[in-house]
């Protein structure tokens, strides 16, 4: 990308094209002959990983858009339709949703790497600023993408973030109205966010081209921070960098797929499985983990405009970094003080992220202010002063010298960074949960579920019994709108035959019409029909249930969660624990006890140990011997609760078995592939080290 190539094609067809459009020469000089410093470490593979993630997001995103409906009343269900009915829809959706998080994981590693090794310094200032622009675009894209499922967090996230702009003096309100396309966040907002969410990734791709162009003009920085001088300092991009990047990428993909196949909801928020409700704000609004540090800064400033200014400045200040840090030595490896401050800065960012997930009260506000000060101090005070007073250690004469003199010291930052980042990731992930820990609520006991773990499957008997309990008890008040009769016969479900499922369907009366006379009529249900709701609309359901709306049960097992607390949520990542929903349902159904003496129970409510706030409108729904089982299972409350919880986990995720089965196959393949790449990489690099 740095000028006319001297590439000489030997194939005559390629030569013919090359004379007219030198595209092969461009590819050759950019991705094959391009000289890369020979001392690059694995932190440099994240550029390639980011390109890969952008491609994944665009491909899966374009596909999801084929099935998604950007309309306020249909968006939520269309996402569920993708996950439930589209072939491999669950996979594509997980790839896209987890992919967003992985994109940010990679970009943060990439940015901290640039920070540590001084990759923003002369002559790479424009390269760095383009990176900051990409990061800003990514944040906008990620935010708008999160709005699209139109769950509670989507809706309220959109409300809070768009309201940031109302802080702007004079024009604020007009800008917000412009963003909304209405008097509040609504269907027009969703539509334009969808349009922009589709557009921005291509803008990102365009800026990435500029970023790579600038990179190929200036050349890559390297851990030593000295520019290549002779041929001995570099190796050609292919095969050396390609194979190393491929190996790094394969390892990253394994990490990525751990989420996709085993913990797709670990980084998400359970509230987003509740459809958007403009009348009720979730108790704790928390953005996605990758915005948490900036969210913490926003909240730590007591002034509305001030908070917004501080938050945006925190990102924009990065663009000025090349001039704030004027030290001649690039790599922090040779800057003893800068190195220490760098790690302090990393910790500050992590702590800010952790605070972003905490409720904005008491000590958290004060800590937020101190850390916000530290964040800005690093850029505005520490770096400018350090670049004047610090005495750097001597840098190697050349990259070749650096490679020869390689000692254990260069590995130390890598190891410690891995540890710090692992803790950071866990803290972020757990931050959402910890925000709720303030309720002093007893957590439901953890049950053993057959569907837990990497190879878990549903217990067919429990699903069938659970369905019976649902049908005889729950369904009198609770709808199950996302489930169809045909689902009963789906593979990985309760194992009904198609005939049995048809028989179940025909027991129900389904409203259809209008007929030729223009009248609605009732007919027996068919496999293609949804389970009919017990009430014609929400208001009727409320009126019949003392003012409280019995929630739809299709997704309840994914829409309910509870905090696991530190350090439990770190272990959860490794044990793949994600059964909060079934645990909660199981506990709630058995949680009806006498209220404590000092508890004031409102009229028409019942005391439940595990319900948030304890006053639940639903009377104790199940008791021993209420539903008769024909397979000899004990007709006890705990058995009923367990069976219903299993059944509702299945209704929330009908393809869980397929997900885990495919996950195992893909993981085995990826591990073998990564090993092959590792050994190939070793062979290729054998004569270059």
């Amino acid at each position: 990308m740095s000028g006319p190539s001297t590439y000489q094609p030997r194939n005559s067809v390629i030569a013919w094209i090359e004379r007219r459009l030198p595209i092969f020469g461009l590819i050759h000089s950019s991705f094959i002959a391009y000289p890369t410093p020979r001392n690059l470490n694995y932190w440099w593979t994240f550029g390639g990983i980011l390109s890969f993630m952008l491609a994944v997001q665009i491909v899966t995103g374009v596909i999801l858009a084929m099935h998604y409906t950007p309309e306020a009343t249909m968006a939520f269900n269309s996402v569920e339709n993708i996950v439930r009915d589209v072939n491999y829809g669950w996979l594509l959706r997980n790839l896209h949703a987890c992919g967003a998080s992985m994109f940010f994981v990679a970009v943060y590693v990439h940015m901290f790497r640039g920070l540590y090794y001084g990759s923003y310094k002369e002559p790479r200032e424009v390269l760095w600023i383009l990176g900051v622009i990409i990061y800003l675009l990514m944040m906008a894209t990620g935010f708008m993408g999160y709005v699209l499922p139109w769950g509670q967090m989507s809706f309220w996230g959109a409300t809070v973030i768009t309201n940031l702009f109302s802080a702007i003096p004079y024009f604020g309100e007009s800008i917000v109205t412009l963003l909304w396309g209405g008097y509040s966040v609504g269907n027009p907002t969703l539509n334009r966010f969808f349009s922009l969410h589709y557009l921005l990734p291509f803008v990102i791709a365009g800026v990435v081209v500029l970023h790579v162009w600038a990179l190929h003009v200036a050349g890559q920085n390297n851990p030593a921070g000295v520019e290549p001088k002779t041929e001995k300092d570099t190796v050609p991009f292919t095969p050396y960098a390609t194979i190393k990047d491929s190996f790094g990428m394969a390892c990253f993909i394994i990490f990525y797929f751990w989420f996709v196949f085993y913990m797709p909801n670990y980084l998400g928020d359970a509230d987003n499985y509740i459809p958007a409700n403009p009348g009720v704000t979730p108790a704790h609004i928390v953005p996605e983990w990758y915005y948490l540090p900036f969210y913490a800064m926003l909240r730590s400033i007591p002034n509305k405009l001030g908070g917004v200014v501080v938050m945006f400045s925190a990102i924009l200040i990065l663009a000025f970094l090349p001039w704030l840090d004027s030290a001649k030595t690039k790599s922090s490896r040779y800057r003893p003080l800068a190195k220490q401050f760098f790690w302090i800065f990393v910790v500050v960012c992590i702590l800010l992220g952790w605070l972003g997930g905490k409720p904005p009260e008491g000590i958290y506000v004060i800590a937020g202010r101190i850390l916000t000060f530290c964040y800005f101090a690093y850029f505005l005070i520490v770096l400018p002063i350090l670049s004047r007073i610090e005495k750097p250690r001597p840098v190697p004469n050349s990259i070749a010298d650096d490679v020869l003199a390689k000692t254990g010291s260069s590995r130390t930052p890598m190891v410690s960074t891995v540890i710090v980042l692992a803790v950071a990731g866990s803290l972020f992930a757990g931050a959402t949960g910890t925000a709720r820990a303030e309720d002093h609520q007893e957590n439901p006991p953890s049950q053993k579920w057959s569907f837990a773990g990497p190879v878990g499957t549903y217990d067919r008997g429990a699903l069938q019994r659970g369905y019976k309990v649902y049908k005889e008890v729950c369904s009198t008040c609770h709808s199950m709108n996302l489930m169809y009769f045909r689902n009963l016969a789906d593979p990985g479900g309760p194992g009904f035959s198609t005939a049995q499922a048809s028989a179940v369907a025909s027991d129900y009366k389904v409203k259809d019409g209008p007929n030729d006379a223009g009248e609605m009529f009732e007919r027996p249900g068919r496999l293609a029909d949804r389970f009919p709701a017990p009430f014609p609309n929400d208001n009727a359901a409320r009126a019949a249930n003392g003012g409280a709306l019995p929630p739809d049960l299709s997704l309840i097992a994914k829409a309910r969660s509870y905090p696991r607390g530190f350090p439990q949520f770190i272990f959860d990542f490794f044990t793949q624990f994600q059964e909060q929903g079934p645990n909660y349902i199981d506990a709630l159904l058995q949680g009806y006890v006498d209220p404590p003496k000092d508890f004031k129970l409102p009229e028409g409510s019942y005391y439940n140990k595990y319900f948030p706030g304890h006053a639940i409108k639903m009377p104790k729904p199940l008791s021993d011997d209420q539903v008769s089982y024909d397979d000899g299972s004990p007709q006890k409350l705990d058995q009923y609760a367990r069976d219903v919880a299993t059944f509702l986990m299945w209704t929330a995720e009908p393809h869980m078995e397929a997900r885990k089965r495919l996950g195992l196959q893909v993981m085995v393949f990826m591990i073998i592939f990564a090993l092959l790449l590792y050994f190939t990489k070793k062979k290729v690099w054998a004569d270059a080290h």
């Binding site: 084929m66 570099t234 090993l675 190939t680």
Partner: protein, 247 residues
Amino acid sequence: MHAGQPRAGLRSSGKGANRTILDCVFPLFWPGQAVILPPRGAAGAGSLSGPFAFALPGAVPPAADEKGLGIVTTATSADHPTRRDFLFVATGAAAVVGGALSVWPLVSQMNPDASTIAAGAPIEVDLTPIAEGQDIKVFWRGKPIYISHRTKKQIEEAQKVNVASLPDPQPDSARVKEGHDQWLVVIGICTHLGCIPIAHEGNYDGFFCPCHGSQYDSSGRIRQGPAPANLPVPPYAFLSDSKIKIG
């Protein structure tokens, strides 16, 4: 692929310096020193030093250029030639297989989803309201199905035709159910380019397609115009004399 000159001078003192856990786990793989390839493609050396910010490091043999990664299958080395070749081929093959398999879900998602398939289940149609000489249009799987209650004249015309003279020869008996000659059930989509023909129009007492002038007779057979085939008969069966099940 490989640099023009072996860079033995740049190697660190011994293998031990670069040892990783994987080396210990797989001691059987390449137990000895790493292989230094003999120089290849010397002609390419230095020929690429173009307008780069800094000099190119060495040669990329042209033979390897066009093969992307440049899987060197012909190279020989001192100690383990076949083992290294096997490694490169295996890695490349795994990449190709993995890439190909990952395309599967991306294509498969374009097929009809489960709700569409379920909605395409058979439908039942009551024939009692359809008087002789009338027809109705019902939709099945998004396609219009014409159900015609044919008159005696229409039936006779349809049966009388010299089948061999038709563009798409098919006797009327093959297009209706035995004993139900009066009922013609066809998918009302012109076999030319998919327009909907109009019933009771054209010269053959059947269907006329307004798009490009194809004409079908009272058995739905193509008689005139650009359409190549008869209107298809959907799968259906009589549940009773007055009720059919399409699909």
